[in-house]
């Protein structure tokens, strides 16, 4: 039987080196055929090196260990490496998945290596469902909504978190972005903003106005079936046109 081939993936170079030296002690026949700093190149690595085994750090920039494991599927064995992930470790225990904790404990590594050696001849375990559920919990919430507004101030581009925006209002060619501290103009029209902002937080109240509901202090009835919005800590009031007053009708 040929020697097993392994790939190490960790974004920290010293920790890759550490795992490599430890493995050289505990599993001298194992060939480390490749190292990577994130999980992006999994397809290429599978193709080029045909490894039997991946050591995958869970937290890596761009593509983490869980995502990489999903891509690998049952084409190779997978051992997860993690510094601290309570529920991941718990799930690994339940699902009999191999994992290594950082900083490494020599004894534990020896045991894991023993288990892995026995498993090398068999087919890689099917981890898909376990990994999927974990990935859903660990992955940073994929928000499809706009979170930052970029506004030019002189020659600089100011970055405004949307939570701080009181309201957007179209002003002929531009859109006004008003916060407690400043007011800036952007080119993105109200209609586009409406598509991209979180609709639970940002309501259109007028053809030309989108308000951040978190900053509304009160809504009063105004002239001709319209309403008027007062904002917390801001003097300007906003008109709610008739088409949108239903948003503020009492439930």
């Amino acid at each position: 039987m040929t020697a097993a081939k392994a790939v190490i993936a960790d974004d920290e170079p010293l920790l890759r080196a550490q795992l490599r030296t430890r493995l050289a002690r505990t599993w001298p026949e194992l060939a480390i055929v490749h190292e990577m700093a994130d999980g992006r190149d999994v397809e290429h690595v599978l193709e080029a090196f045909r490894p039997d085994l991946f050591f995958l750090d869970i937290h890596m920039p761009k593509v983490g260990g869980l995502e990489a494991a999903q891509a690998i599927g049952s084409r190779a064995h997978v051992v997860f490496v993690t510094a601290y992930d309570d529920y991941a470790v718990e799930a690994f225990e339940r699902g009999a998945v191999d994992y290594v904790l950082k900083p490494f404990n020599e004894e534990r590594l020896v045991k894991t290596v023993q288990r892995l050696r026995e498993r090398m001849g068999s087919r890689p375990a099917e981890l898909q469902s376990l990994v999927e559920s974990l990935a859903a919990r660990l992955a940073p919430s994929r928000d499809e909504h706009l979170r930052w507004i970029k506004a030019s101030v002189g020659s600089n581009v100011r970055l405004i978190p949307v939570e701080e925006v009181l309201f957007f209002q179209s002003d002929e060619k531009y859109t006004r972005v008003v916060t407690h501290e400043a007011e800036s103009l952007i080119r993105k029209p109200i209609r586009e903003l409406l598509d991209e902002l979180d609709p639970a937080k940002f309501w259109q109240v007028h053809r030309a106005t989108i308000v951040n509901v978190d900053h509304i202090a009160s809504v009063k009835r105004g002239l001709k079936d319209q309403a008027e919005i007062a904002l917390r800590g801001h003097d300007e009031t906003l008109v709610v046109s008739r088409a949108f007053t239903h948003l503020f009708k009492q439930m």
Partner: protein, 347 residues
């Protein structure tokens, strides 16, 4: 319609009943002086009372700033007493000329009584309103203070969690573990950084004020650790004039910006990134900036939570005098800067 309902705001059933009761009691108190019947006097009193009440309400709602509201209201009551007495005469079928000739004394007494009772009643109302307003202001201030205390506490808890973040600690220790075997001098340097970082970070959990130097030291230790861990992917520079290190600076803000620069700036991009901390002072303001050449903000990815916390704390500490701004760095990355007034320099 709108304007009218606005001017009469506060004209409640309660107020009408209150005025009616005062009129009834006032007539009860003085009707023995007059030859008139109680009912006849009550009609006069109610005319005076209601007219004054309407004028008083309007005076309280007119938006103007030249005359104090209370003076307007007193004047309204005086005018109301005079108008109301005339009105009462008209109700009773007397002619206006007669009121100011043969009936003048009665009219004058009625006006005088109206003014007297009216002023007492109004004074009572004004005092009650004022104390209610004071009460509201006090409780508003109170709740603002509570909110502030809560924010500061939250910030501390968040930071405390961040500082002893297990990922940070265990990954760092794993690096030290490896260096102990392969490069003992480097291991020792890294341990020193860890110790310096913890020493700088831990007492700040308890203290309120600190100076820029200590904040810089903590940030530097944090960056040293990450430079070892991230290898060639990250470098940093600190360009802070020695003289500014003694300046007071709020705790745990710089480290938050530095953490953001590592976590959201340099770490997500795989092969780039330097972080520079700069400080300068001018026009009575101290400006501390953290610039990274990392990924920059991604329009749809978060990371502003720590920032709004810093903003709230700056607001709490300096009112509107301090600022946190975020700007795009050229060609890529973010510059986050905190600007605070320098104590004593503004004068």
């Amino acid at each position: 319609m709108i304007a009218q309902s606005h001017l009469l705001e506060g004209l409640t059933v309660r107020r009408v009943l209150y005025v009616t009761a005062i009129c009834a009691a006032a007539v009860g108190a003085v009707f023995w002086i007059f030859l008139n019947t109680y009912l006849d006097l009550l009609v006069t009193a109610l005319c005076v009372g209601y007219t004054s009440m309407v004028l008083f309400t309007i005076a309280g709602n007119v938006r103007q700033s030249r005359v104090p509201r209370e003076a307007m209201q007193m004047f309204a009551v005086i005018a109301g007493s005079i108008l109301g007495t005339v009105f009462a005469g008209l109700v009773k079928g007397r002619s206006i000329p007669a009121m100011f000739t043969e009936r003048l004394s009665g009219v004058a007494i009625s006006m005088g009584l109206g003014i007297g009772f009216g002023c007492v009643a109004v004074a009572a109302v004004i005092l009650r309103e004022k104390s209610a307003r004071d009460q509201a202001r006090i409780s508003r201030a109170e709740s603002a203070r509570h909110q502030l205390e809560k924010n500061v506490l939250e910030a501390r808890l968040q930071l405390m969690q961040a500082q002893v973040e297990p990922h940070f600690l265990f990954n760092t220790l794993a690096n030290v573990q490896h260096l102990v075997e392969t490069d003992p001098p480097a291991a020792s340097r890294m341990l020193e950084s860890v110790i310096q970082y913890l020493r700088a970070a831990l007492p700040q959990m308890r203290e309120g004020a600190t100076n820029l130097g200590r904040e810089i030291d903590m940030a530097q230790a944090f960056l040293e650790i990450h430079r070892v861990r991230m290898g060639s992917r990250m470098d940093f520079a600190i360009e802070v004039p020695e003289a500014l290190r003694a300046r007071p600076f709020p705790p745990m803000m710089l480290i938050s910006l530095v953490e953001n620069a590592v976590k959201h700036g340099v770490d997500p991009c795989c092969d780039c990134g330097s972080i520079t901390i700069r400080a300068d002072e001018g026009a009575g303001r101290l400006r501390v900036a953290v610039a990274d050449t990392g990924e920059g903000v991604v329009a749809k990815k978060g990371g502003g939570v720590g920032l709004s916390n810093i903003r709230e704390r700056l607001q709490a500490l300096y009112g509107g005098e301090a600022r946190l701004t975020l700007e795009e760095n050229a060609p890529h990355g973010v510059v986050a800067s905190i600007e605070v007034p320098v104590e004593g320099a503004a004068a």
